[in-house]
Symmetry: C2
Subunit: 200 residues, 2 copies
Amino acid sequence: MQGKSDRAYHHGDLKRVIIETAQDMLREEKGWQFTLREVARRAGVSHAAPYKHFPDKSALLAELATLGFNEMGRQIALELERQFRSPHAEFIAASKAYIRFGTTTPSLYRLMFSADVDKSSFPNLDEAGNNAFALLLGILDRGQKSGALKKQPVRAQAAAAWSLLHGFTMLSIDGQLLHDKVGTKPIDVVLTCMLEGFEN
Amino acid sequence: MQGKSDRAYHHGDLKRVIIETAQDMLREEKGWQFTLREVARRAGVSHAAPYKHFPDKSALLAELATLGFNEMGRQIALELERQFRSPHAEFIAASKAYIRFGTTTPSLYRLMFSADVDKSSFPNLDEAGNNAFALLLGILDRGQKSGALKKQPVRAQAAAAWSLLHGFTMLSIDGQLLHDKVGTKPIDVVLTCMLEGFEN
DNA sequence: CAACATATGTTTTCACTGTAAACATAGAGC
DNA sequence: GCTCTATGTTTACAGTGAAAACATATGTTG
């Protein structure tokens, strides 16, 4: 195993490098129109090499999306480790972490919800998404049990919360929630509206 | 002007035909990966002909998105012509029309909010989107003036409502709000949640 | 009404893409 | 040490968006 030597016929760690290169390009450009060949070029391998690790481009995109859901979950979970004075505060904190993830890595976030990655073809992706959703369910469930939130079917409540967060994030990425259109600090207003609908 | 004769060198109405063909393909496939050449083939013209009407593919997509916003606005406006017992009912009706448009023409709806159509490059597109947003502003404004809704900055309230609708629509299209994940009739729960946050 | 400018078509050409197939080589297990 | 397999490379192909050169209607103008 020659490892990372510069001119090894067998790269040794190509899959990781391909993923990281693709992640870079996803950040640099504003979408996932980057070509597999360009990824290969930047990784310093032949244009066919990536196909030894991913059957096609959509498989690579699915991998990026899966990693994205995992990372998003990690960031939200990290936020949730803090102590909160109330379920209200916990919900706000998690929501802001969600929105921050989306607006900080817009192309990735978009990719995660794009029709170009088919969840039914990539079970890992579907699972990663569900794990993130479970965090939201947990927050609302705790809120209901504490009496702070209305007792509603928690999954329906979660659908509402997720819809709001997803919509807000997407519109923000889109630049549709700029000041002159929507006023200042829409994030707080928006989250407050939702919570007032939730709370007792 | 030979008009629609089958074998005219000058088609006479190509732009419209190209748009309609592209609209068809947008409905048939699940995205806008269709090629300009395929559009041309189906329209029965050479593969370069579309370039006489659209500088590039993104311009055609922008046109489709613009028409989409206009059509969505039309459908919502049509719904609003009815008489409503309350601002509440009016909001619900408009929301359902919005969501229906999105879930009925998912690819088009996705395109309208895709990064592949750059609003800053296509002023018409931006304007069409703003017109649709204005409908929402009107509903909330009337609701506030009637005393049914809280007096909040109406644009911020609209941001919240739009976020919820957009998120719900996108997640529905994505198949993320299916029964086992989220319960029955999430649409009603979701809209109710939001409205309870809005109302006095 | 003839001539021409322009709008709208077609053909040809190009660089590039995703992907498949054939081939090469390094490392792992026998 | 030999072979198998995983992981590379090279070569090949059909198809793409787009530009350029060319063709033909159409409508304007003398």
